[in-house]
């Protein structure tokens, strides 16, 4: 199959950037979207041009590295997938595909389709963990967790941190990412000990990092590869209010 690509090219964070058009022929509909970009890059390298930079790692929907706007939608048109899980069979022969990086104040573009998402790491470092002594892994049954609580926590823990929620949100809010982390850890006995400190620190840090405010448009869940529920944002609000009142 043949595809026309309109790809955002930007040399560095200060560059204004522009779209460049590319044409690919002899593509296989069974190829993944990233394999298509690999094919393009091979062609560019052969022609002694700069390859298109994009993030990727596991290529099986787990790592959360690959994330671009495909025809104006984070990770492309099919719902709840990552870019690497998108295949060319979703497009028609001869289609034009517009590929842009995720855009947000907190996610500056480094080069082409590659963005700096280290703001997410900063958020996690501000409280998205539990304080435990290191050493041998403890015996799993020392802390009993009821099955339904474990399930709830796991639903939130499934977040892969790809940033599609921020890219999709009209306010560039990271509420789904932070909400999932808060909700996951507040549900479990190991995380309960630091729940107040965690939520206050993480929410405050979210504001400092120039993420926007959540206005409950619920767009984030629609584009989330893991279909993380927006109710985790409500849970974060609950935890925040609870912590503030307790303080």
């Amino acid at each position: 199959m043949k595809l026309q690509l309109k790809i955002w090219r930007q040399n560095n964070p200060d560059d204004l950037g522009r779209f460049r058009n590319y044409k690919l022929t002899e593509l296989n509909p069974a190829m993944s979207f990233l394999e298509m970009l690999d094919t393009l890059n091979l062609q560019l390298i052969k022609n002694k041009e700069q390859p298109v930079e994009f993030d990727h790692d596991c290529r099986e929907g787990i790592c959360g590295q690959c994330g671009v706007m495909i025809n104006g939608i984070a990770h492309g048109k099919p719902k709840n997938i990552t870019t690497c899980q998108l295949h060319l069979r979703e497009f028609k022969d001869g289609d034009t595909i517009v590929i842009e990086p995720f855009r947000a104040k907190a996610f500056p573009v480094l080069k082409d389709l590659k963005v700096d998402r280290s703001a997410f790491d900063t958020l996690i470092a501000s409280g998205g963990y539990i304080g435990v002594e290191t050493g041998q892994a403890p015996e799993a049954n020392t802390t009993p967790v009821p099955q339904e609580i474990a399930e709830q926590a796991f639903d939130a823990a499934a977040c892969i941190g790809c940033g599609a929620c921020v890219a999709t949100c009209k306010n560039e809010s990271a509420a789904l990412f932070v909400g999932a982390k808060i909700s996951h850890l507040a549900a479990l006995p190991q995380g309960k000990a630091e729940r107040e400190k965690r939520v206050l620190n993480m929410v405050n840090r979210m504001d400092e990092l120039e993420f926007g405010h959540c206005t409950n448009t619920e767009a984030c869940q629609v584009e989330c590869p893991q279909d993380i529920s927006v109710l985790h944002i409500a849970k974060m609000n609950y935890e925040y209010l609870r912590a503030k009142l307790k303080k």
């Binding site: 779209f19 025809n71 104006g72 409950n216 767009a219 629609v222 944002i233 409500a234």
Partner: protein, 208 residues
């Protein structure tokens, strides 16, 4: 935003219940509506609630301006090709626009009814109360006024459709079952407010 919004929702119900008196038979409606208006302006408790209401409107607006200011886009963060709208409802994204329409409506509404009643000279009815009733009826017989009123009430409908459930989420209602119930109540509430507030002027326009 959530607390002021929910207070304003509560006020909408009280205001609508008061407005229903306009639907009584004409003579009865005039006396009762004017007496009700006089009672509201004379009661100290109502006065306190009225001030809470004014403050709520102002705080709600300031908060909205702050949120819009915070989410404004720079050239670098604006998508050149944007199809994100498939993921959310248009009214959820346009709360500010709907809010601006409602604010403009409120300013006109205060100027048309509240100001003449509080500070203007109005003729008195048989019981010696200011005749707000005739002022309201005269407005609702004007097609232009009813048209503008209807636009504002439709804006209110969509504003509530998002605002009602969103307020509960912001206050931390995270239980899946109750969140679903609140969403349903929000839809019913928005519909009832829309039908109630639209029905009165349209009924008066057609019947008088």
């Amino acid at each position: 935003m959530a607390i002021t919004g929910l207070f304003l929702c509560l006020f909408l119900v009280i205001h609508l219940l008061g407005n229903f008196q306009l639907l009584l038979p004409e003579d009865e409606a005039q006396l009762q509506y004017n007496a009700y208006s006089a009672f509201l302006s004379g009661n100290i408790l109502v006065k306190i609630i009225a001030y809470v209401l004014y403050i709520s409107i102002i705080l709600h607006s300031i908060d909205a301006i702050y949120l819009s200011f915070k989410s404004r886009k720079s050239k670098k963060t604006r998508y050149r090709y944007d199809a994100r709208k498939r993921a959310s409802k248009w009214y959820s994204r346009q709360m500010m626009l709907l809010g601006v329409i409602l604010f403009a409506f409120l300013v006109i509404h205060f100027y048309d009814f509240w100001y003449p009643f509080k500070f203007g000279e109005l003729p008195l009815d048989q019981q010696g109360n200011k005749d707000l009733y005739q002022l309201v009826i005269a407005s609702f017989q004007n097609i232009g006024y009813v048209g503008w009123y209807s636009v504002a009430i439709l804006a209110l409908f969509f504003h509530l459709l998002h605002g009602f459930f969103s307020a509960f989420r912001s206050l931390g209602l995270y239980h899946p079952y109750y969140a679903q119930i609140i969403k349903l109540i929000g839809v019913i509430f928005s519909l009832l407010m829309c039908i109630g507030y639209l029905g009165i002027p349209i009924y008066i326009f057609i019947s008088r």
